[in-house]
């Protein structure tokens, strides 16, 4: 589904990603871990198409298309979703209205008819139950005055509504207490299927107690330096990132 080959990218002349290789197949959950400044969030942003980053080398294929050729909204249309680390606020724009616009823009991209009010409401009710989100949150302005936990739950709800092929969760656990992490993780788990994939970007192992990954990759200094199964995450938890750093000093 997603095939990243030798990806180099940076911002303002500064090289951040220095040759990433990663294959993700439908049904898989991958976790990218790594110390601060290793390039985790850059990878998420480059995949979503944030303009600030410049790709200098490599290829990314997504669902049979050259992802790097597509605009951010086209990537969304193709089924790529990014749950933001810091979801933005848009005052005066109701969350429901925003999501309705998003759902129908994505449908338009795929050549599908826009959902009418009734069909949209039905979908919304179904997904609200699935992700355990409150109606009152959705009638408020987008993310305005939301708590950290509410913002992240809103991201997961949007993911449920858009039903992406690949969901990238950028530090979704950051700033959340353990109850909030559990709720968010439950939402994500309910959305897992054999047809879609999840890429978790996280600093800490604790999220992986709730969303169990098939593969764990360690990102350090712009490269994936170690890949393994969920046991690797536990090892990192135990030994800290220092052993990765010392192993890679010579490299």
């Amino acid at each position: 589904m997603l095939s990243i080959k030798n990806l180099h990218a940076g911002i303002d002349e500064k090289k951040i990603l220095k040759g990433i290789n990663l294959e993700i197949k439908p049904g898989e959950v991958h976790a990218i871990m790594g110390p601060n400044g290793s390039g985790k969030s850059t990878l998420a942003s480059v995949l979503a198409g944030r303009e600030d980053y410049e790709v200098t080398d490599g290829t990314v294929e997504f669902a049979g298309k050259d992802l790097l050729e597509l605009s951010p909204e086209e990537r969304a249309g193709e089924g790529l979703f990014l749950a933001f680390q810091y979801p933005v606020e848009i005052p005066g724009l109701s969350t429901t209205n925003f999501i309705k616009t998003a759902v129908n823009e994505v449908r338009k991209y795929r050549g599908e008819e826009a959902l009418d009010a009734v069909a949209f409401l039905k979908l919304m009710k179904e997904k609200m139950a699935q992700t355990n989100i409150d109606q009152t949150l959705l009638s408020r302005s987008l993310n305005e005055g939301f708590s950290g936990g509410e913002k992240k739950r809103n991201e997961v709800f949007q993911m449920a509504m858009l039903q992406p092929k690949l969901a990238i969760l950028d530090e979704t656990d950051s700033g959340l207490d353990i109850d909030a992490i559990r709720i968010v993780a439950n939402g994500v788990n309910k959305l897992r299927s054999k047809d879609n994939a999840v890429l978790l970007v996280t600093h800490y192992q604790r999220l992986l107690d709730y969303i169990v990954p098939d593969f764990v990759h360690v990102l350090y200094n712009g490269r994936i330096v170690k890949s393994g199964t969920k046991e690797l995450a536990l090892e990192l938890e135990e030994r800290g990132y220092d052993f990765i750093k010392s192993e890679n000093v010579e490299a």
Partner: protein, 481 residues
């Protein structure tokens, strides 16, 4: 994304879809302004002597005044002798019904999406249409007449209801008030008149549609609206003009009078031609609008969506004379390219327990300048007066300006006056967030500005709200990048 934006940019302002000119023969006064011009206008309208005298008084006062320079706007000096002060579409004869109106004129209004057809009752809006200097026709007159509501052109009102006109014209905006209102008082050629009798709730929206068509003309309309005790009326005003590379002057005066327990809701969607992207042409919109809450518990609410004109200079105001009276001002002003707006309100608290609320949303893009200027005055007898003001500015890009000039004068220490102001920019982050959800940049900007302006848009009657939302989006196309 850069490429896409330049594609959007191409459509900017060529999108001013009301920029056409109608080929109709016009009956015009020669350019220039002197006593003869005023006599000519007055004679054309077959006005009574008192009206002519009033005009001449205004003219003589105007001669002694000078153009105000305090507003935060810049423009070449206007030569008042170059302007044509009277232009009327030539009608073959006096029309008795709307069916007899010149087909070319009817077509103009159809293009503008305005139905003059009394058969189309579904629209539920009574319209008075003013083209250049004269009123073309008023719809739903008879139905309104059954309730005792008078809704007609001001010229007609001068003939048919001189006692009302004589009593109220200039009572809220006196001829000596300011330079542009004095000029308007001298040369106004038409406008709308409305009277709602005691206890009557007007069953439909009343609307005036203004159109400048002829070249070289100024438009000076005069609107007078009286809501008698316990009555209610909602009034809409819309305006457009052809694309021309000259600046045309629009200096209107609107006066509202609300008696005890009466309520007037006055909404404007102003979309005069704003000039091209280099700032050539466009309408100078220098307008005086003021209402008075004459009796206790009266309420006047102004709502304006200002997207057009190269320069906007207007401050719809409320004099809160009656005890417990309420004044409101809701405004969205958009400036793009070289447009300039200096707009706001005055709330004059004179009566006890009077309340006012000001919500102003300024959106600036391009190299435009957008200023809010407002005065909250609490007189010494206005015990327990309350005001709340909120002025928010949204900037698109880094070459535009937003300015706020709030003035507060309080002469009674029981008053409570609150003022809040914010300035923000549409962030790249907001746009990217929308993009990531599949929403393109143009739609994202529309969502963000409509969210920003929502509190004001919610005040508009349904018929206008949808149109106004689209207008906001069109006015700002291509301005983020």
């Amino acid at each position: 994304m850069q490429n896409e934006l330049s594609a959007i940019e191409k459509t900017v302002l060529t999108d001013y879809k009301y920029g056409f000119v109608t080929e109709i023969e016009a009956d015009e006064a020669p350019p220039g302004l002197n006593e003869d011009t005023i006599r000519f206008i007055s004679a054309k309208k077959n006005e009574p002597e008192w009206m002519l005298e009033w005009r001449l008084k205004a003219y003589n006062h105007w001669l002694k005044m000078s153009e105000p320079t305090w507003a935060n706007i810049k423009y070449e000096k206007i030569n008042y002798q170059d302007i044509i002060y009277y232009s009327a579409p030539k009608q073959k004869k006096k029309v008795n019904s709307l069916d007899e109106i010149d087909p070319e004129l009817r077509k103009t209004f159809e293009k503008l999406g305005i139905s003059l057809d009394e058969q189309k009752r579904l629209s539920g809006v009574a319209i008075d249409a003013v083209i250049d200097s004269v009123s073309i026709g008023t719809t739903f007159k008879e139905q309104l007449g059954e309730l005792g509501i008078i809704f007609c052109s001001i010229s007609e009102a001068i003939q048919e209801h001189p006692e009302l006109v004589k009593k109220y014209i200039g009572s809220v905006v006196p001829i000596t008030d300011n330079y542009f209102s004095a000029l308007n008082s001298a040369v106004f050629s038409d406008g709308s008149f409305c009277y709602i009798p005691k206890g009557v709730r007007c069953p439909m929206e009343l609307s005036t549609y203004f159109r400048i068509n002829a070249e070289g003309t100024g438009q000076f309309e005069r609107t007078l609206l009286i809501a008698d005790e316990g009555s209610y009326v909602s009034y809409l005003e819309g305006c457009t003009a052809p694309i021309r590379d000259e600046n045309q002057l629009h200096a209107a005066v609107v006066e509202l009078i609300a008696m005890e327990n009466a309520e007037i809701k006055y909404s404007t969607v102003q979309n005069w031609y704003p000039g091209d992207k280099d700032g050539v042409g466009g309408i100078y919109n220098f307008v005086t609008k003021r209402g008075i809450c004459q009796g206790a518990h009266a309420k006047i609410s102004w709502t304006q969506v200002e997207t057009g004109s190269s320069i906007t200079w207007k401050y719809p105001s409320v004099i809160l004379k009656g005890d417990y009276s309420v004044g409101e001002f809701y405004s969205v002003a958009v400036t793009n390219n070289h447009q300039q707006a200096d707009t706001g309100t005055k709330m004059m608290h004179l009566g006890k327990n009077t309340r006012s609320r000001i919500v102003s949303k300024g959106i600036s893009a391009g190299v435009s300048n957008n200023s809010y200027r407002g005065l909250v005055h609490v007189g010494k007898n206005a015990a327990n007066a309350r005001n709340f003001s909120q002025c928010d500015s949204l900037l698109l890009g880094d070459k535009c300006g937003a300015h706020t000039f709030p003035y507060i004068e309080v002469k009674n220490n029981t008053a409570v006056v609150e003022h809040e102001a914010t300035t923000s920019k549409i962030g790249e982050d907001q746009i990217f967030y929308c993009n990531q959800r599949g929403i393109d940049t143009e739609t994202a900007v529309a969502l963000i500005i409509n969210g920003f302006a929502k509190e004001v848009m919610n005040q508009l009657p349904m018929e206008f709200a949808v149109e106004a939302q689209k207008l906001l989006a069109i006015s700002l196309e291509g301005s983020v990048g």
